[in-house]
Symmetry: C2
Subunit: 264 residues, 2 copies
Amino acid sequence: MAPKWRELADQLAEQIKNGDYIPGQQLPHIRTLVENGEGSKSTVHAAYKALEAEGLVTSSRGHGTVVRPQTPLKRIGIERYDKAKWRDGDEVAFIADRVASGRAYRRGEQTQSVTLIEATAAVAAAHGLAPGDQVYARARLVKEGEQPTHTLTSYYRPEHVEGTRIVDPSPGPAGRGGGFRVLYDAGYEIDHMREELFARVPTPEETKLLQLPAGEPVVELHRTTYTADGTVVEFAIGVHAASRFMWAYDFKIPDSAQEVGEGQ
Amino acid sequence: MAPKWRELADQLAEQIKNGDYIPGQQLPHIRTLVENGEGSKSTVHAAYKALEAEGLVTSSRGHGTVVRPQTPLKRIGIERYDKAKWRDGDEVAFIADRVASGRAYRRGEQTQSVTLIEATAAVAAAHGLAPGDQVYARARLVKEGEQPTHTLTSYYRPEHVEGTRIVDPSPGPAGRGGGFRVLYDAGYEIDHMREELFARVPTPEETKLLQLPAGEPVVELHRTTYTADGTVVEFAIGVHAASRFMWAYDFKIPDSAQEVGEGQ
DNA sequence: TAGTGGTCTAGACCACTTC
DNA sequence: AAGTGGTCTAGACCACTAA
């Protein structure tokens, strides 16, 4: 037999799914359920904690426990890197993406800091350096309105970016056209990319920084950007609040039996 | 000031990170910490629950609480769909992938059931049907050894698969070469795909089916497979234990300013 | 000030595993 | 039988929010 708190949680989850409690609506107060004989305060609290961990509700002191509204997943594809956007216009890739999904961009929705640091193992491997070699790290925290959605930290080899706008630590996107435009102007035209994704539980620091509700996972994205000759000009690590993004990729079915000359 | 259970959890997490407790090793028993004055049993228990939710440890009755060993992420790329594997050989796509990563395949690591059901909204949308139209659902639970790693459910339009081996509900992969080979033999050669991924918290049912440790997220994958003329021949939904997989995609930077004739 | 969720305790008891 | 984590209670008290 399932524990009492689990049964209570399941019962409430069922009611939420049925629409008995709609998004934004308050669940019964803990003390109310205690009076109704659903168990002691700890037991009811455990049930509420479970619902929170399952992403169904959020609790806050002074207020109460409300059903969490489902923000639709923002679908992001490779179009967000379209050269036309950052080379010919002055859109920054991530802003272009925002515009494409009908969300406005406001100043102050991205903070940025640039520092010279020692490469971690992952960064060194991506850039073909030794761990401990110096790289520039450009860290951004991106928000939508008040709510942070993801962090994105780009790592560059010093010889690629020294003297460019990228290492100018002024807030906001790296000037007109963004980081790819700066690299382009410096003679490094990006050509292809590799993206690697996996999901995990956030660290306590990430929970705080991204203001994640209890139980929300993060998706970590590793993006390696190459020029046509295979030089890595940027390696970036993003940490995304899972409930806000969906990644989409289109590709041809590979056929190694055919000797094709199309590169990838 | 952070709650007592949070401080205790952080302290233990620190020790785990430092290697004071190595993977597989037991943490102090709850009652031991109670005797040491770390708090009441409930408080210490709360700390252990937090560590479990953060993916650091697993607890079990009768045994104790041990540091969770980190299984390396299995990187999966689009090579697993290589036509040569399932068309010319008799490998099944997912087995080919297993072989490539140095893991053996044993019979019985995949269970399968095929049923005719009414399409859900997502399935109907992918196949261009109306919700409620009939589709074949081929559901698999894939394990590695004893441990389930993911579920994968393929949805087919009846006219594409009726009379083929796919609708024969014998266990194991859909015969020599797998599902894509069957479609190929039936005259539907797959040409390109779209994969969409997002992470979320598992449902209680998924937690049970995939035997997920507390706090482990899942990655949901939606795969749409097309023939060259754009017909959707398969739509599949996978639910993956997040700690076991990493997805990798390579692509060219798009350039909408260039009018290219390469399809995608 | 009143009401919300969150923390904490002390102790009883339960479920499971190992010996 | 002994030892593990898990559940549950009753009640005190804390932290935060709103009127």
